[in-house]
């Protein structure tokens, strides 16, 4: 009796599963890490906008920084039978099983902003920025800006040991390589925060004769640069003229500083990872075009001549 009931139930399940596959517009699930930083909030906003622009129905799941929540969300997406899945993986490890399940269900997975250590065949493509390239763009800008004049640079590093800190340092050094007039004289961590950036800059200024020996400051993110600008002002110097300020990320606040002439350049870490992802996905679904396994986002350079006020207006409502 019980057995028969079970058989009937599972048959009902099977027919239901078969009938729910029909779909019209594309539905894409997005498993986001959380909203731990302004940049990530902006990424979420931009992903929603890009989906809307293309008429894609976006299912959004915030994992609250937990991998198990992300795995659950991806499994639920698969069960729902959606057309594709975007994931910003919180850690690099432990995705094999769930990615394999998605592959089994013929649902393409695209990684956003971070990568995983799983086999490349388990995902369609990864859309990320190149951290080394970002640093290099910043370095090249400085090299071009100072020309042949001697320039002592102080560096505010990101969190010690973090990959953005390591790669952005490396990239900057590549950018200024071959310009012997530019030297990094001091380099310390400012932990990616505004307060630490200010503190460390203050100690740099004291150590370098009140800042007279500093020609430029390179910060691994804009927040530290904003802190450094404060410190320079308090030391009685003019940021942007006496000491040049170059940083990475392109958050709205740095454009206000640029507008005021206090910051010189920033390299954008674009929050628009979803745009290229959706384009690659569309090509794949429409004509079966396999995208390359890595899509690098543009690391755009912004300077004072790029109408910082307008950029600020465009960015300020993204949730940074």
């Amino acid at each position: 009796m019980k057995l028969r009931r079970l058989a009937v139930l599972s048959a009902a399940f099977a027919t239901l599963a078969a009938t729910t596959v029909a779909a019209s517009a594309i539905t894409v699930g997005f498993s986001q890490i959380g909203s731990e930083s302004g940049w990530r909030a902006a990424e979420t906003t931009v992903t929603r906008q890009e989906a809307e622009k293309r008429g894609i129905d976006l299912k959004f799941a915030d994992a609250q920084q937990k991998q198990e929540n992300q795995i659950k969300a991806i499994r639920s997406f698969i069960a729902q039978g959606i057309d594709a899945i975007l994931v910003a993986p919180v850690v690099a490890t432990g995705w094999d099983a769930v990615l394999e399940e998605a592959k089994d269900a013929d649902i393409p997975v695209i990684l956003l902003d971070r990568t995983v250590d799983s086999d490349k065949s388990l995902y369609l493509t990864a859309v990320t920025s190149d951290l080394v390239h970002e640093g290099k763009v910043a370095g090249e800008w400085l090299a071009k800006d100072v020309g042949t004049n001697p320039c002592n640079v102080v560096e505010l590093q990101g969190t010690t040991g973090s990959s953005p800190a390591i790669d952005r340092k490396k990239g900057f050094e590549e950018g200024i390589a071959g310009h012997d007039n530019i030297k990094i004289t001091r380099s310390q961590t400012g932990d990616f925060t505004r307060t630490k950036g200010k503190e460390v800059m203050e100690s740099f200024l004291r150590a370098e004769d009140g800042g007279k020996n500093i020609c430029a400051v390179y910060a691994h993110n804009d927040d530290m640069a904003v802190g450094a600008i404060q410190a320079i002002k308090e030391a009685g110097l003019k940021p942007g003229t006496d000491i040049k300020v170059v940083s990475i990320d392109a958050v709205p606040d740095i454009f206000l500083a640029m507008e005021a002439g206090e910051a010189n350049a920033t390299v954008e870490l674009t929050p628009n990872m979803a745009g290229p992802a959706f384009d690659a996905l569309k090509a794949y679904l429409d004509s079966g075009t396999e995208p390359p396994k890595w899509i690098q986002t543009e690391s755009k350079l912004y300077t004072q001549s790029d109408d910082p006020k307008a950029v600020y207006e465009a960015k300020k409502d993204l949730g940074y």
Partner: protein, 331 residues
């Protein structure tokens, strides 16, 4: 037919689950599929196993806050030692011995030092989390043919659902847990201890031994849960499963177990786990709600159940009192 009032919370939980699932299905028919049903089991396997241990602890009137940290410790320990070349079978055994001993030690302290379980297991929580960080702060990938065979084993059901090894293990733990609670001396002792420690002692329940055994069981199941978590993510990460002990407590209470101990069912915890999983699944299916609604829904459910338990307690007390006065009037 008379329903035992003590089982009323369990029946309420069951009813809520059935109604909630039906509502979900009416909105998203795809939720009535073997995939979703099996996902509920697989995705909550580690939480479910840990929650069985928590059920025993709460039934005895205690609490175990160390569970989440023990899971993280287990996962990091397993990933690192297997990475160093030890055979996984030995590591798994070692880990279970370690976590059981850890639980037993906490139980011993609670009994011998007459300390509240809250304080002792809070210390245990910090200790285990710290130990996990000491081993590795990075997320350590785990790869070994033995582990892969374990984690990738599943039965395919019609409709694409997968009954995975860890889901089956969770069900087994719930079945064994129910038998232990209902059919063994140890189980009876737990209920007696949670109901009233003084009378339990007078009845001849070995308080010390039972307390140590309860926390050892919880430690063992936390270790097992950690192994399942490791299989689930095939990695060890010291920051993982923060706050899982609170999810487990919520599942136990939503499952109808009295937070003060003495009454409840292991099966109730199972439904409690499923309700939490169902809420999360619904939110992902909807795709526009903030995932923090999970927490809000669980908070509301918890309030509801605590209120329900209170009312039942009052009504049974009043019932007993009126029966007593009626009996006195008759003599």
């Amino acid at each position: 037919m008379r329903i035992d009032t003590r089982n009323l919370p369990f029946l309420a939980t069951l009813a809520i689950f059935v109604v909630a699932y039906a509502l979900c299905v009416s909105q998203f028919p795809a939720m009535l599929s073997t995939r979703v049903a099996m996902n509920l089991l697989t995705d909550n396997a580690f939480l479910g196993i840990a929650a069985v241990g928590m059920t025993f602890v709460i039934l005895s009137g205690g609490i175990d806050l160390s569970i989440g940290s023990v899971i993280a410790f287990t996962s990091v320990f397993t990933a690192v030692t297997v990475g160093a070349g030890l055979h996984p079978a030995i590591v798994l055994l070692l880990v279970l011995v370690l976590t059981t001993a850890f639980g037993a030690a906490m139980g011993g302290m609670i009994h011998l030092l007459k300390m509240p379980p809250f304080v002792v297991t809070l210390a245990g929580m910090f200790l285990a989390r710290g130990a996990a960080f000491l081993i590795s702060t990075q997320s350590v990938p785990l790869s070994h043919p033995f582990i892969d065979a374990l984690s990738s084993f599943y039965f395919r059901l019609p409709g694409g659902g997968r009954l995975t090894s860890i889901a089956m293990l969770m069900i087994a733990v719930f079945v064994v847990g129910t038998i232990v609670a209902r059919r063994t001396r140890f189980g009876a002792n737990i209920y007696a201890l949670g109901g009233n420690p003084q009378s339990a002692e007078l009845m001849g329940v070995p308080i010390g031994r039972t307390t140590v055994a309860i926390y050892a069981t919880s430690g063992f199941l936390a270790g097992l849960s950690g192994i399942v978590y490791t299989l689930y993510t095939s990695a060890g990460y010291s920051l993982a499963t923060v706050g899982v002990e609170l999810d487990a407590i919520a599942a136990v209470v939503i499952g109808g177990t009295l937070l003060t101990g003495g009454a409840g069912l292991v099966a109730g915890t199972f439904i409690g786990i499923l309700i939490q999983g169902l809420i999360q699944t619904y939110i992902v299916f909807d795709g526009t709600l903030s995932s923090w609604w999970t927490k809000i829904a669980i908070g509301v459910l918890l309030f509801l159940f605590i209120a329900l338990q209170r009312t039942i307690l009052w009504s049974t007390e009043r019932g007993q009192a009126s029966r007593r006065t009626a009996a006195m009037g008759a003599t």
